[in-house]
């Protein structure tokens, strides 16, 4: 019975609760955090765009370099192959004549 009364009192203990006082500088704190976040965003975004642009430029340059190089290598290889082929075919023709 005593416990029941006490439980009732516990359940009613919030009936006359007062509001707790929020920090009077909450607005200032929120603004500091907002400015901090915005500053971080501002400093991160251009670097990312910069990095992306740099990567893209390097990729393009590499592509052009590889493309022009394979072209010239292909040409010199073909030039080197021609005398060898001529010699080979003339050898075959000579052996067939025998």
């Amino acid at each position: 019975m005593e416990n029941k009364n006490e439980i009732e009192k516990i359940l009613a203990s919030l009936d006359s609760i007062q509001k707790a006082e929020a920090n009077p500088f909450l607005y200032e704190k929120v603004m500091i955090r907002l400015e901090g976040k915005e500053a971080r965003v501002v400093s991160i975004v251009p670097i990312k765009i910069w990095q992306a642009a740099a990567c893209f430029a390097v990729l393009i340059a590499l592509n052009i370099f590889v493309w022009t190089r394979t072209d010239s290598v292909g040409k010199t290889q073909n030039e080197n192959k021609n005398p060898l082929a001529q010699e080979y075919f003339s050898y075959i023709n000579n052996t067939i004549q025998f």
Binding site: L11, S13, L14, E21, L26, V30, M31
Partner: protein, 179 residues
């Protein structure tokens, strides 16, 4: 405010900081966490005020954000606690798990402090929706209709939530006195 004027935002923070802070304080049962949460809520409000359609009162919208974010924080803490417990079982982390210190709400009258401490520790064991409905009713003094709007449920659901919350609290408290 929707245009992002800082004076309007200051007015909003100064007008509603009390309800945001007090709601977070009741749910999180820690004044530092409640202050952090109040800041988080207003930061979210600053960024998402354009999404506020004005269909409900600003206070209802703020209650909803505060409740959602506070419950999310509690959930993530519980997950971390469970993970730390599992790790401790495998011997990876033998540090004792930090328990929530018993909370005394600063707005409780002196003669009720001990009873309120016991009640808050019992409230902490309630299921989320019962806990929220009970706290909004008892500490914020919201009507059933207002709680229904905050929780997006019907008034009869709120009645049922509060009825079950009181029943569960009674059971917890009976158990507390049987110990």
């Amino acid at each position: 405010m929707k245009a992002g004027e800082s004076s309007a935002f200051k007015y909003l923070v100064d007008t509603y900081k009390g309800i945001v802070y007090n709601t977070a304080l009741s749910i999180l049962q820690n004044d530092e966490d409640a202050e952090d949460m109040a800041q988080e809520v207003f930061i979210q409000v600053f960024h998402s005020v354009k999404d506020f359609k004005g269909e409900s009162k600003i206070s209802t919208w703020l209650y909803r954000i505060t409740v959602t974010k506070s419950l999310d924080l509690l959930r993530s803490r519980k997950r971390k606690k469970r993970f730390a417990f599992v790790k401790s079982l495998f011997g990876e982390n033998n540090e004792p798990l930090a328990e929530q210190a018993s909370f005394v709400h600063p707005g409780v009258q002196l003669e009720n402090k001990e009873r309120a401490r016991i009640l808050f520790s019992a409230i902490d064991k309630l299921p989320e929706n019962q806990k929220t409905a009970f706290l909004l009713n008892k500490t914020e003094g919201l009507s059933y209709q207002e709680i229904a709007e905050v929780l997006h449920v019907s008034v009869s659901s709120v009645e049922s939530l509060l009825f079950r919350a009181k029943g569960n609290l009674q059971k917890y408290l009976e158990g507390y006195y049987k110990k």
